[in-house]
Symmetry: D2
Subunit: 163 residues, 4 copies
């Protein structure tokens, strides 16, 4: 039977130390709740940190790669989905996730949040960027939720899953 998938979207090489800490904790918490972690799969930034956290906690991890092989795969990804779609794979990331947590902010992450909203999915924002929160809230007040820390993000995930 289909398992619950929580997507953690975030910045690659330009992730901040805080983003990396948050991503690692999110990975751990997702695994501890018995959910599958889904990320963009690359060996960089939020993707790499979230997968590391999930595997430390014994979870199962899925990576949706933009390229045509596994040359850039994060080590802690169990199941690599190779799309060769470039940034169009961002739409698969959000469609395949029951809930999306956006950890940090950049152009790729913004595209995933916007695609999630376009596809009527809920998104939890976890970042230090007040403009981004104001902007995405204005696009979809009901579908955008704000978390102050990883623990609160997980509380919000549980609320979304129960609705």
């Amino acid at each position: 039977m289909r398992k619950t998938i929580i997507g953690v979207m975030g910045v690659g090489n330009l992730a901040t130390p805080r983003d990396l800490d948050n991503a690692y904790q999110l990975g751990q918490l997702i695994a501890q709740n018995g959910w599958i972690l889904l990320t963009g799969g690359r060996k960089a930034g939020v993707m790499e940190a979230a997968n590391k956290g999930a595997k430390i906690a014994g979870g199962l991890t899925v990576g949706i790669l933009p390229g045509k092989d596994t040359s850039n795969l994060a080590e802690d990804v169990d199941i690599a989905i190779i799309t060769d779609l470039g940034n169009a794979r961002n739409n698969i990331n959000v469609l395949s996730s029951d809930v999306i947590i956006a950890c940090g902010m950049g152009a790729g992450t913004a595209s995933e949040i916007a695609l999630a909203l376009k596809n009527q999915k809920k998104v939890i924002l976890l970042n230090d960027n007040p403009i981004s929160k104001e902007f995405f809230k204005s696009l979809s007040p009901e579908k955008v939720l704000i978390a102050r820390n990883p623990e609160q993000a997980i509380v919000l995930v549980k609320e979304v899953l129960q609705t």
Copy 2:
């Protein structure tokens, strides 16, 4: 030889009257400059209005459709590209455009702006939404340009094409 393509991205059914006016004028001006107009191709909102403007002015129009047939195609599209990719087609919209003009604001449009920036393309924002301008400027100060009206958007397109 490859022709210059200007993409006009914008809201479908929820476009405002001002967005529709702007889109129509953009379509006209793009055609008058000898450029090809590219849109998301649907018979709604900014897409439909921009195509109408371009055809009135004798231009050539390309529509990149999300569905698997032409059932929802705007009448004034000359060349329909049928992708069956859903919202993943937004990445094709921006990659295929030499310059992107975002006319109005919504989740789909936001995804196109973000994907454009992720792909290192320049985007001209034409809307009444100050938060969106602040947010996207913060993501990429050099790649996001602001226009107050369709004429100014075209001036900016010319500047981008010359660089």
Copy 3:
């Protein structure tokens, strides 16, 4: 660490009883070997039968769905990847599989075999259609392997994985 994925591609509603038997056995054998089963994920034909076999044997299953939700998902899929790409998702099926087994024959399956060969992947054919074997062998003599039954297909998978 990344797990080995074996793709089983085959016909949906028009699968023959022999195809369904073969798919069920392939699913079982893939699970018994500790590999992950990947299919097109739909609740029909070879996809459904292979997933059933894999779950009976305690395996892990991945389904790459063409639609935009899980409305047509086979019950025995653990991890649903929702692509909304229509038949373009066939390219993801083959790229994500270490080895592909084509079980039965139809237009969709033929597209997956051809895409696999185009992407330089090995494909094992298991069907009763001699023309298809001759044709695909002619396209790529080294990359197309022929199996007479599920057990032999698994022997060939092992050989490919060791190279």
Copy 4:
């Protein structure tokens, strides 16, 4: 109003001299009939030759590129659609064409024929490969048509367009 698009699919670097001659003639004939030529857009083989023929005859040409820029674009393509989808773009090639002509044979071309049939589109085969004709005819007797030369292919295109 939407214009008629005829897709010519074929081999890149491994095209035979006969394939190249046929492609060039097909491009000319398509342009002379007032249709738009659609190809995979690359500067190689059948794609390049068909575009050359179409432009000599004053036609309009569309190229659906697999990469993320125009670095590999055939010179005679007017409208470059940049997909960054790799071989998944083959599905767009066939969906966007009113009729598909497969000129020559290889793994990529075979995938396009199979995807066309899966999408219920008609395909005209023009090649020297009798096994391919037998195989695809067996997949879909009504949707696969056989042409002996470019002129006959165009006669068949006209018949398909009238139905």
